[in-house]
């Protein structure tokens, strides 16, 4: 949707990105698998785009104790004219 706020999750490794998909699926959080935007990292990697409304929930799921910790870095983005525009990466997460 145009103007929609998205949160981009990036990870230390592709294995974390894949493990995170299982957790998000379990929590019924919808995500889109995207290549890590170059604004966030020059490392070619797997990133996940979720609705910003789900960001807190997702962070909670991924950091949940008792399961292998998944380090996710969250960044804000907005969909403009069908394109995903990354805003400033947030400093929290890692």
């Amino acid at each position: 949707m145009n103007g929609e706020l998205r949160t981009i999750l990036t990870f230390q490794s592709t294995h974390h990105a894949i493990a995170a998909q299982d957790k998000l699926q379990y929590a019924r959080i919808q995500f889109v698998v995207i290549p890590t935007p170059v604004e966030i990292s020059s490392n070619c990697g797997i990133a996940l785009s979720i609705a910003s409304a789900d960001a807190e929930n997702a962070r909670h799921m991924l950091m949940e104790p008792g399961t292998p910790k998944i380090d996710a870095i969250l960044a804000e983005a907005r969909i403009l004219g069908g394109k995903l525009i990354v805003l400033l990466p947030s400093v929290d997460g890692e």
């Binding site: 592709t14 990105a17 894949i18 889109v32 698998v33 995207i34 290549p35 797997i46 069908g82 394109k83 995903l84």
Partner: protein, 201 residues
């Protein structure tokens, strides 16, 4: 009207070819009998492209497709789709996806890669005229939510997403197809031959 053409039990593209032969021979009114939905869809598309009307009658497990000439035949037999009209396509190329993963390796990585590839393609300016899905590749349009969404978005921009009907039939997922147009080898080969460039995933 002549005797119905019996194309029951014939795999695609045979029914299509039989009907095409009738049209090429100048027939204006004929019936083709087939026994699967894929063939019916193919015949209906053929009829449309040749300015025939096609009415379908189901009897037991047989579909009787009646062709009737309804107007002047188009100049081109079955034109490949023209590139997107909104100016987003700059070169005539097609994308061929023959598997539900990208590259050779683990399935989960390959599936993530193909999702990202399609996402990136959809975000870009230079769109293909067609995306062809074949063999395991058809599964992306059946059970992969993200890819289905991307295919729909590409179609809205005028990209022709063609799914191999034989493959859907083989994997018993014909009824589960979520997006795209079902095509036969005749139409798929035509797109290969008409393309300036083919990107194979």
């Amino acid at each position: 009207m002549s005797t119905p053409i019996d194309a029951k039990g014939k795999a695609c593209p045979i029914p299509f070819m039989l009907a095409k032969a009738q049209i090429d021979a100048g027939a204006t009114d004929f019936i083709v009998e087939v026994d699967n939905k894929a063939a019916v869809e193919n015949l209906k598309r053929l009829a449309k492209s040749q300015a025939f009307s096609a009415s379908v009658e189901v009897r037991d497990s047989t579909f009787r497709v009646a062709f009737l000439r309804s107007g002047e035949k188009q100049k081109s037999d079955n034109p490949a789709p023209q590139p997107v009209s909104n100016g987003q396509t700059t070169a005539n190329y097609i994308v061929f996806i023959g598997d539900d993963t990208m590259g050779t390796g683990t399935h989960e990585l390959g599936r993530n890669l193909v999702r990202m590839f399609l996402y990136t393609l959809d975000q870009g300016e230079n769109l293909p005229s067609s995306v062809l899905l074949m063999n395991n590749g058809v599964k992306l349009a059946v059970d992969d939510e993200q890819c289905i969404g991307t295919f729909k978005s590409l179609q809205q921009k005028g990209v022709d997403v063609m799914v191999c009907g034989t493959c859907l039939n083989y994997y018993h997922i014909f009824d589960k197809l979520q997006t795209g147009t079902v095509g036969n080898m005749y139409e798929i080969t035509q797109r290969f031959l008409a393309a300036g460039k083919v990107i194979t995933v």
